[in-house]
Symmetry: C2
Subunit: 221 residues, 2 copies
DNA sequence: CGTGATCTTGAGGGAATTCAATGTCGGTGG
DNA sequence: CCACCGACATTGAATTCCCTCAAGATCACG
C-alpha cells in the first residue's frame, strides 16, 4: 500500500466495487478528473504515465493517418479501464466522447503495487487479456460487410449497456463510421435499412431499440 | 492435437539465442515437433496448454465463421512465439502453412518459471505487448483500400524477413486474402498492378522483390 | 426562432466481389 | 523424358456494394 505522503495532495482514495469488472484493488487509489466532450485525455506519442477508469461518460481512443483518416481503436464506457498500452508511449490518442469523469491512476503506483501484490498483478493481466479479446473481435468485425459490421456493433453496445435491448449511443455516426471503417453515410443508411427490416428501431438518432436480436445476430455474420 | 503423454520421454533442452526476440529463458525447455503443411497444431476451443516457438517454417492462426469465411489472425515465422491467448481456451486454430518445426513448451512450466523468475515474467509481458501491437497494426491494415492492404502486407513481410528487399512468401494467395479480408482475385490483381507500377516484381508467384519501397509506403496509406 | 452541427437521403461512380475461363507450376506415372 | 494432372494463380466480364458528392431534414442550443 502506498503511503499518503507519496501521493499528490489532491488524491482521492476512491473505493469502487471491483467484482463486476474483475479488477479489484487497482482502482482504489487515484485522482478523479473531468473531461468535457471532445477534450483530449492523452495524445499519441505521449509517455504512458497513467491508467484510467471511466466513471461516467464515454471515451474513444483513435489514431489519425497521414491523409487525415481517423481510426477509432475502442470505445470505453463507464466502468471500463483504458490507457494501458504496449510499450512506453501511447500509440493512440484518447478523447472524451461526451462529458466524462475519469479516475486517473499513476502507472508507476500500479506496477509498484503489482510487484508486491500478486493479486494486483493478476488483475493487470486480466485487463490485458481483455484488451486482446476486444481487439480480436474488432478484427473479426472489420472483415465483414457493412450490414454485418453495424449489426455486430449494435450487439456489442447492447451487451455493454445495462438494459441490453434498449440503449443510447453516446457517440456520433462519424465515430461509429471511424470505428467500423465505413463512411458516415453508409452507417446511416445501414441503420435505416436495419430499421426497415424490423431488426431495430431508432426513436431518436442516438437511441437504439433492438427488436429482433436473432435477426441481428444472423446479419452480423 | 497434442497430448501430455507425448512430452516427458523426448524433452529437448534446446538453447537458442534469445536476444533477438527478447524472450531469453522462456524457450530453453521444450519439445521439438514437426508439422506437415496444413497440419493442425491446435484447434479453436481447445485448452491453452502450450506455448510455441517456430523454429522453421511458417504458422497461421485462424478462425472460421459459420458461413465458411476464414479470417487469418496472424502468420508466425521462424523465431516467433505464438499460442499465448487471452483466456483458458484457444479462440483461434493454428496450422502449419508449410512443413514446420515448432518448439512446444508447457504453459504451466512457463508460468511456474515466471512466478520465481521476474525476468521470465517480463519476457511473458513483452510477448503479450508484442501481440497487442501486432493486432493494432492488423486493425489499421483492415480499414484501408485493397492496394494499401497488400502494400502494407508486403512491407510487413519484408521487415520480418532476413533480406528485407527480396523474399519468398510462404503462404498462398488465399492465405493472404484471408489475412487481409480480401478475395484471392483482388490480391492477385493488386499484386499484378503493383508490379505494373514498378513498385515490386514477382519473378515467381511466391517470390517478391521490392523495387520501390517509398512508393509502397506511400501506397500503404 | 435562427444557426450550426448532426443526421438522413439521393444519384452517380468507382472499387472490390462474383462467376467463369485460362494460364502456370510441380509432382507423378506412363 | 515428357505428358498429364491437380493445385495454385492470373485474367476477364458483369455485378454488387460502398463511397463520393450533393441536397435536405432534424436536432440542440443560444
Amino acid at each position: 500500500m502506498l503511503t499518503q505522503a507519496s501521493l499528490p495532495s489532491n488524491v482521492i482514495k476512491a473505493r469502487h466495487a471491483g467484482a463486476d469488472t474483475g479488477v479489484g484493488a487497482i482502482e482504489m487509489i487515484g485522482t478523479m478528473m473531468s473531461f468535457a466532450r471532445n477534450a483530449e485525455i492523452y495524445g499519441e506519442g505521449e509517455e504512458v504515465e497513467f491508467l484510467y477508469k471511466v466513471i461516467s461518460g464515454t471515451v474513444r481512443t483513435y489514431k489519425v493517418l497521414a491523409d487525415g483518416r481517423r481510426q477509432i481503436g475502442a470505445f470505453y464506457l463507464a466502468g471500463d479501464l483504458f490507457g494501458l498500452e504496449a510499450g512506453d508511449d501511447h500509440s493512440f490518442s484518447a478523447e472524451a466522447v461526451s462529458d466524462s469523469k475519469v479516475l486517473v491512476i499513476k502507472r508507476s503506483a500500479i506496477f509498484a503495487l503489482a510487484a508486491r501484490n500478486s493479486d494486483v498483478a493478476r488483475q493487470l493481466w486480466n485487463l490485458t487479456t481483455r484488451e486482446l479479446r476486444r481487439m480480436q473481435s474488432h478484427i473479426m468485425l472489420l472483415i465483414k460487410s457493412a450490414h454485418e459490421r453495424v449489426a455486430g456493433f449494435l450487439l456489442e453496445m447492447a451487451d455493454r449497456s445495462a438494459a441490453s435491448s434498449e440503449f443510447d449511443l453516446p457517440m456520433s455516426r462519424q465515430d461509429i463510421a471511424d470505428y467500423l471503417g465505413l463512411t458516415i453515410e453508409t452507417v446511416s443508411r445501414t441503420l435505416t435499412s436495419l430499421e426497415n427490416a424490423a431488426a431495430i428501431s431508432i426513436p431518436s438518432a442516438r437511441r437504439i431499440v433492438l427488436r429482433d436480436r436473432a435477426a441481428l445476430s444472423a446479419l452480423s455474420g
